[in-house]
Symmetry: C2
Subunit: 494 residues, 2 copies
């Protein structure tokens, strides 16, 4: 057999991908459908599968085949696939099975209990579970850092955003910290002088759901290969052939669920448009969490909150909730661009959002590197919220450090992806505008296809063929910088 090592690897990764499919469905079900009593059996089942996947990926013969395949006569795409296989192998082979299983179990337990504990503002109940997750995440980080060099936190960061380091993040984030607070203050002051009516609810859940489905249709979501449901924490899950997005509804807020749906639709279209010929192979997967987030923010912020898109949305909103003074076009756009520092990251406007991420980044880095402990989190959270956004979260855990799902199952290192994504998205939108001279006209006519085609050609179809830096450079002509994000915020908000 030609390239027999490589072909055996392809079969192994196809197998792993099929098991990941089942894990993704069971995970989606756990968050959307599962009754509470199913939790512990589900956690055990997922952990068992996780151990199996770990065994398959780290089997001795995989290491040998990877070495063997290096010598084989591979195409450029196959070589990119091999590079991603090696990365996956190296990431996994480091960890002992017992740690993988313990982390999966502790994560399931913590996440499941969190769903109730958050509602009850129960930090005392949550903290012990989180400590266990942190303990195991630190063990993981230590093992990874020993193998690759660099800090413990960097070792986790690299899982989600390959090639990124906290040194580089510090540069980017301190750039943001240099101008964003001023910009935020100016925007808040400017908006304070401009009257704006709030839409008056209630906005019934079933009509919000219908509106979300309408927006998904406008944005090209493929309902033959996906669906929309409800979960405590919105996410995009499932598999490329069957993408499951979720949202949560607040009957007093006409837009929060909708823009959640638009956000997840960005993730979903990336997944739905990954190249099918590489299905199940590492090179066929989304590039990184940051690039993934760039697609969701491209949809939510760059396109979704553009005046052109808001103008297309407004009749659909009026149709479902009736007309009211807040629904004049001018007021609606003004209101949709409202900037108001708040407690909740997922509800944050795009100007205050980076502060939420930088806060989490600073806390989780210190936590993983061992500079602080879980018990320090609520105090630090309160302190940084006051410093960055002028808000106190003292005693308010559910809207403070218990608001996010990420840490519950050990997803430390993920948060920076959000703000990397925002910066990628701005840089990509700017490049798309340069590449598509008639873009603003077509957006004004409600024709989003040129934009989606550009994304398909420049991002989606490449999957993991290139590194993130290469992908961004090919698409935009330059490496990541904060300039386009700053220009975008300045143009839209000042």
């Amino acid at each position: 057999m030609e390239n027999q090592h490589y072909q055996q690897l392809v079969r192994t990764f196809q197998r792993l991908s099929r098991f990941s499919h089942l894990s993704a469905v069971a995970g989606w079900d756990m968050a959307t459908m599962m009754p509470p009593g199913g939790s512990s059996a589900r956690g055990e089942a997922l952990a068992e599968l996780g151990v199996l996947q770990h065994q398959i990926l780290t089997a001795k013969n995989v290491g040998e085949q990877l070495a063997g395949a290096e010598q084989e006569n591979l195409s450029e795409d196959e070589r990119a696939n091999l590079r991603e296989m090696q990365r996956a192998y190296a990431q996994a082979a480091l960890l002992p099975e017992s740690l993988v299983e313990a982390k999966s179990l502790a994560g399931s337990r913590c996440e499941h209990a969190w769903r109730t504990q958050r509602k009850n503002n129960d930090w005392q109940g949550f903290a012990p579970n989180l400590k266990e997750v942190v303990k195991l995440s630190r063990e993981e980080a230590a093992i990874r850092a020993d193998a690759r060099g660099g800090s413990r936190y960097d070792a986790l960061l690299d899982i989600y955003e390959p090639g990124m380091t906290s040194a580089r993040l510090d540069v980017l984030f301190s750039d943001l910290k240099g101008w964003l607070p001023d910009l935020l203050q100016q925007v808040v002051e400017k908006q304070a002088s401009r009257p704006c009516l709030d839409p008056q609810g209630p906005f019934p859940t079933d009509r919000q759901r219908d509106l979300g489905l309408h927006a998904m249709t406008l944005l090209g979501f493929d309902f033959e290969h996906g669906r929309l449901d409800i979960s405590a924490h919105p996410f995009c899950g499932g598999v490329p052939e069957d993408v499951r997005i979720t949202t949560r509804y607040n009957e007093e807020d006409v837009l929060s669920a909708l823009f959640g749906v638009i956000h997840e639709t960005g993730h979903a279209r990336y997944e739905q448009n990954l190249p099918r010929q590489w299905a199940g192979q590492p090179v066929g997967q989304a590039r990184s969490m940051g690039v993934h987030e760039s697609q969701s923010l491209f949809f939510e912020m760059q396109l979704g909150r553009s005046p052109a898109f808001l103008q297309h949305l407004l009749p659909a909103i009026r149709q479902r909730f009736g007309d009211q003074p807040a629904f004049t076009l001018e007021n609606f756009i003004t209101w949709s661009h409202k900037v108001k520092p708040g407690y909740i990251r997922v509800d944050a406007d795009e100007v205050s959002y980076p502060a939420h991420v930088i806060l989490r980044y600073e806390i989780e880095r210190a936590l993983i590197d061992g500079d602080i402990e879980v018990d320090d989190i609520p105090g630090l959270w309160d302190e940084k919220m006051q410093q960055y956004l002028g808000l106190s979260t003292a005693g308010n855990y559910q809207n403070g450090c218990m608001q996010d799902i990420h840490w519950t199952d050990g997803g430390f290192g993920y948060f920076p992806s959000y703000t990397l994504g925002a910066m990628y998205a701005a840089q990509l939108f700017s490049a798309a505008r340069s590449a598509l001279p008639g873009l603003d006209d077509s957006l004004a006519k409600g024709d989003f296809s040129p934009l989606f085609n550009w994304l398909r050609d420049n991002i989606w179809q490449h999957a993991s063929r290139f590194t993130t830096a290469e992908l961004l450079t090919l698409a935009t002509g330059e490496t990541l910088n904060t300039r386009y994000f700053r220009e975008h915020l300045t143009r839209r908000y000042l």
Copy 2:
């Protein structure tokens, strides 16, 4: 380690059970939630897991451990567990992996396409898929029959109803065929002379769902460990810790979905009350499909259609759909006991139901034993429907031979379980009445707990500790016979 062979087996079967958990969730999702485009990836994922489970179960060391455990010092329960392990191993070890995978794939494909084809009455589209499933099922049956002796069909029957043979079924079913047609005719004639008002719809789906949830509550369904959804073909799936039942709604029919729900609730309570200390072990599983069906029919027919239960249901029905002349107690009971030969097995009354099963049994036995081919099915179906129930299904595939899901994924040998279950249920209810002198009083008061406690003590808690024959004898004092089923039908309908 004491009993080390046995302990290793316990770990292996726990692992298999966890994989079955994921397979059950993914299967439930496929039938209730999955968009059409997810089908082929899901089929591949489930097939991959099926192959893995097959590999684990049939690994050489399992055979050795089973032999070794025979010599170990096991308790009675452990020995029963070992017996069930050996049965599972023997069932599985016979089949080559390639056949297991091919059958899983062909079954997924056929079942998925059937969901659309049935709606379109598309026998031409369905037949080629079914032929592939039949071909693989025959291969399976041949391998099993070679190993155990007996006919090919008996080899499949034994999967669902261990210890049952077509020779024994022929005796039981020819007994039924001896008196049931006369009884059916007498009942139809008797009812023709008694006026009965039909409830007038529509009965909105959401209220039907609410009524179903109410009935589930009355019947002790544990919503912490289960839920109710919609699927094309109602089923009880999931795992004992999280039982998923489904129904389908017809807005013109007030009872079909409800009694479907009551039926599945019987399955669900059996699963939910299996002994937790044996969770994940073969001895902790439901005894057989026939015993499972005895529980659903106990709920649906013995209890659910009893005048006492119908009396408790009626106010809940009036509350949700308003009052109407058909909802007097007398008319409602008369109407609920209406016997009318029809096309659809799952909608059939309990007097005509056995004819549906005997028809399927005769066709599937001939199909597996090679006496007929797939192309013969529609003609035979029509012929037997005319003979047994006086109805023609010529050209009407969707309400004829395409109505059931069972054959689509190769579940040949399952159908007899339904009528075995009806006979077990009648025999069990009669035994419960003898054992519980105040039973009718407590049922009239709406207190079903004595009955459920009797089921728990005599059936649910025993799981697979005994053979079916032993279980029935322990619970009722005698082996299976048709007497109690005949008495039940005669008392209720004549």
